[in-house]
């Protein structure tokens, strides 16, 4: 029964073919075939998930002899359900949204092909199938982003995406070759079994295979998930149709996290690669969040928001919390997909109500509302700092008491604490007639979110990595020595605590000393407003390469 996994990508492929062939006969009605194919794909993927939840064993289903097969395992089944669901929603949404666009049928054919390719990618059972699907996703996205063939800018930014994806494809090719040469097989289960049997194999120059392959796979994932320095395509790819943005932000951009999870049996034997993954993810999360906050263009802001979230997802892999990264990418995908598909509704709402807050005098005189109150800042600062940490520790302790032995878990709790503190700080910032009621409600919401999140992430861990020893070894591979870890965490905590206290104090006393920004702050603002000049640098490099190529062609004009 689990052989249905082979039929899963065949359904959208067949609907793409039928939509294309019947496009002339049925006209725009042909896209109903695509939607029907989407429903069938979703039903099949839900069936497969049901099978695995009922205890069906994982299998590799082969079509070819040396390559060409799909995996039926928890990761592939979970991801196929997400892809099938998001892609069906996008198709249903597009039936009306894209109705007036030229190339209407072509758009649905491309969507079907993209769905099939994504399904193959997440379930690829061998390195060649993975390479093919990985490469094809970039190409299909290029044509989806450039759906409006009249728009030069759509293609220009689509090209940024394509070239970044191609740059990211190449390390994966190298990793595949390296693993093939070292373990003499294209099949992923055989490669992983080979690694488990001989994790210390070395390659050229005496370098360890797992470290090099892990690094190359991570590089490929960075390009796909818009990590810092390979991120510029993401905020600028909004020129494409909104359904494509939804599909991209809800699904395609998550491919990096899926790839790292797929290669977990490689990373479990690595020594330093996960640390680098953590650093890149952390840096991306910070840069993405800073750039998101500094944008005045809502779409670019959403793009940078996704970049920040992808940074968090990669960071989670870097601390060994692989299953949490999968949970994160699903949650973020659904959230961001909804935001994009709801964009039209938000614009309509904004036309009815500008949403500009009234002044205090207006609300007091006209709306007859009482003035707002703020509580003493030391009490609020203490609540902000103490409550989240208490809730987080208690909920995690209830699920897994040994969790605090894992460094990765501590780091994630640390980030949860900062997020919770920021949430509570916002209540102080809002100002209300009944601040304690607001604080109470926010704490209750926070408890519910944290408990839900803890339980779901724990369930994901059990589902994706049922072998608890393997999961523990992943955390171990991401660990550093305990003294360095404690020092780093202590310094970070001190900085955060002092930062919060200062913010509260300044806020309360309306410190006007720093009303006018200094030159350092202005310099930083200039830097972020120009997005760290990275786009300018890449444009400059691209122009110079093209210019050098032209000069070379003039110089060698005879052939």
């Amino acid at each position: 029964m689990d052989q249905l996994v082979l039929w899963l990508p065949a359904v959208p492929l067949a609907s793409a073919l039928l939509t294309f062939l019947l496009g002339d006969v049925l006209g725009k009605g042909a896209v109903r075939i695509s939607a029907a194919g989407g429903v069938l794909t979703l039903a099949l993927s839900a069936w497969l998930l049901g099978l695995i939840l009922l205890g069906e064993d994982t299998h590799l289903h082969m079509i070819g002899t040396s390559w060409g097969g799909l995996l039926f395992d928890p990761l592939s089944v979970l991801m196929t359900l997400l892809i099938a669901g998001v892609s069906l929603l996008v198709r249903i949404y597009s039936i009306r949204y894209m109705a007036e666009e030229a190339g209407y049928v072509r758009f649905f054919v491309l969507l079907d092909l993209m769905t099939a390719t994504l399904l193959i990618m997440v379930a690829a059972g061998d390195l060649i199938t993975l390479l093919i699907s990985w490469h094809l996703i970039g190409l299909l996205l290029y044509f989806l982003l450039g759906h409006d063939t009249r728009s030069h800018s759509a293609y220009r930014y689509g090209f940024w995406t394509l070239i970044t994806y191609r740059i990211g494809d190449l390390p994966l090719v190298m990793a595949a070759m390296l693993l093939f040469h070292s373990y003499d097989s294209w099949w992923l289960p055989e490669v992983f079994a080979g690694i488990a049997a001989d994790p210390d194999a070395v390659t050229f120059l005496g370098l360890p295979v797992v470290e090099v392959a892990g690094g190359l796979v991570a590089f490929s994932a960075f390009a796909r998930s818009a990590q810092f320095l390979l991120h510029t395509w993401l905020p600028y790819s909004m020129e494409g149709p909104t359904p494509v943005s939804a599909l991209m932000h809800a699904g395609i951009v998550n491919a990096g996290g899926i790839l790292i999870n797929r290669f977990a049996p490689v990373y479990v034997h690595t020594d330093g690669v996960l640390h680098w993954i953590f650093i890149v993810g952390l840096f991306t999360a910070i840069i993405g969040s800073v750039l998101m906050l500094s944008q005045n263009d809502v779409k670019k802001s959403l793009g940078y928001s996704t970049m920040g979230q992808m940074g968090f997802m990669v960071m989670e892999c870097g601390v060994g919390a692989f299953s949490l990264a999968v949970f994160h990418l699903i949650a973020h995908g659904l959230f961001k997909g909804t935001m994009f598909l709801n964009a039209g509704g938000v614009i309509g709402e904004a036309r009815r109500d500008d949403g500009v807050p009234k002044e205090d005098l207006y609300t007091f005189v006209v709306e007859r509302q009482a003035p707002t109150y703020k509580q003493p800042w030391p009490i609020m600062a203490a609540i902000t700092l103490a409550v989240p940490i208490f809730v987080l520790f208690l909920s995690h302790w209830a699920v897994a008491p040994d969790l605090f032995q894992k460094q990765g878990a501590i780091i994630l709790l640390f980030f949860g604490w900062v997020t919770g503190a920021q949430l509570l700080f916002s209540t102080y910032h809002i100002g209300t007639q009944n601040p304690w009621r607001l604080v109470g409600l926010i704490i209750i919401s926070f408890v519910i979110v944290v408990m839900g999140y803890t339980l779901i992430s724990h369930a994901f861990d059990l589902f994706l990595y049922p072998n608890s020893e393997f999961a523990a070894r992943l955390y171990q591979a991401a660990g550093i020595d305990i003294l360095s870890f404690d020092i780093l965490i202590s310094i970070a905590t001190l900085i955060i605590v002092l930062g919060w206290v200062r913010v509260y104090h300044q806020h309360r006393h309306q410190d006007h000393k720093n009303k006018y920004p200094g030159s350092l702050w202005l310099g930083f603002y200039a830097l972020i407003s120009r997005e760290f000049y990275i786009n300018d640098l890449y444009s400059w490099m691209s122009r110079n390469l093209l210019s050098a190529s032209t000069r070379l062609n003039v110089l060698l004009r005879w052939g």
Partner: protein
């Protein structure tokens, strides 16, 4: 004797500066049929010559071939004349066939590899001739908007360019992967760099032809028959790619 054979073969499996001979000749012969014959037979002659050698080519020739592939890939990104673009891509791709000789693979595979690189180039050549008939020149960033004016032509053009630039799942993709499995790390990096440049050049070629508002007045599209012929050929290429070089992996 072998060195002389290698140098002579360097004209047909182009090694810079011998590659200039092919490209200069290709530029002079403007007739599409003559150009097509050149694209088909030029690398086959090179393979035939190399079969006469008693030993595989030395590593320095492989390095030379890799450098040639990168050089022509780099020149390709700014080439706007579609005819010369085809010649440059052929030069860059055929240079990589030296890797197979170095690895001592079966000669039939080398002939098939050459055909896998050349066939989409010949198909592209025919499309370039159609563009030239309609617009007076097959030149990128000159008129654009083919997707609107001639949708069938631009549709098959997109897939042919993808096949020529070794996109999956066309034969050239598997040939590239197969060559990579035979190569040393430094050569792999050179091959991947060349491959990246092809993708860049392919995207620029398409953007310069198919993107943009409708150009000029009413332009006649290619016939449905020709479009279907191209679709059949492209499908045949996909199948042959999966069953020939795809099986070598």
């Amino acid at each position: 004797m072998d060195t002389k054979i290698f140098l002579l073969a360097g004209v047909f499996l182009p090694l810079f500066p011998f590659s200039i001979i092919f490209n200069a000749l290709f530029e002079r012969l403007s007739h599409p049929i003559l150009r097509g014959i050149m694209l088909l037979f030029w690398p086959l002659i090179g393979i035939y010559l190399l079969q006469m050698a008693q030993r595989p080519p030395p590593d320095w020739i492989i390095a030379w071939a890799s450098a040639t592939a990168i050089l022509y890939g780099f020149r390709l990104i700014s080439m706007r004349d579609v005819g010369l673009w085809i010649g440059f891509l052929g030069t860059s791709a055929w240079a990589l066939l030296w890797v197979g000789f170095n690895a001592n693979i079966d000669h039939s595979r080398l002939y098939l590899s050459a055909l896998g690189f050349s066939t989409p180039l010949i198909m592209l050549l025919i499309l370039a001739a159609h563009i030239k008939v309609r617009f007076g020149a097959a030149y990128t960033y000159l008129y654009g908007g083919l997707a609107i004016t001639t949708p069938r032509l631009s549709g098959v053009l997109v897939f042919t360019v993808l096949a020529a630039t070794a996109a999956p799942i066309f034969p050239a993709f598997f040939i590239m992967l197969y060559n990579i499995t035979l190569s040393a790390p430094a050569v792999i990096i050179a091959m991947l760099t060349g491959w990246l440049l092809w993708a860049w050049a392919g995207a620029r070629l398409l953007q310069g032809l198919i993107v943009g508002p409708q150009a000029g007045g009413q332009i006649k599209d290619i016939s449905r028959k020709l479009a279907w012929l191209y679709i059949l050929l492209l499908n045949a290429m996909v199948l042959s790619g999966l069953y020939l070089p795809g099986k070598w992996l």
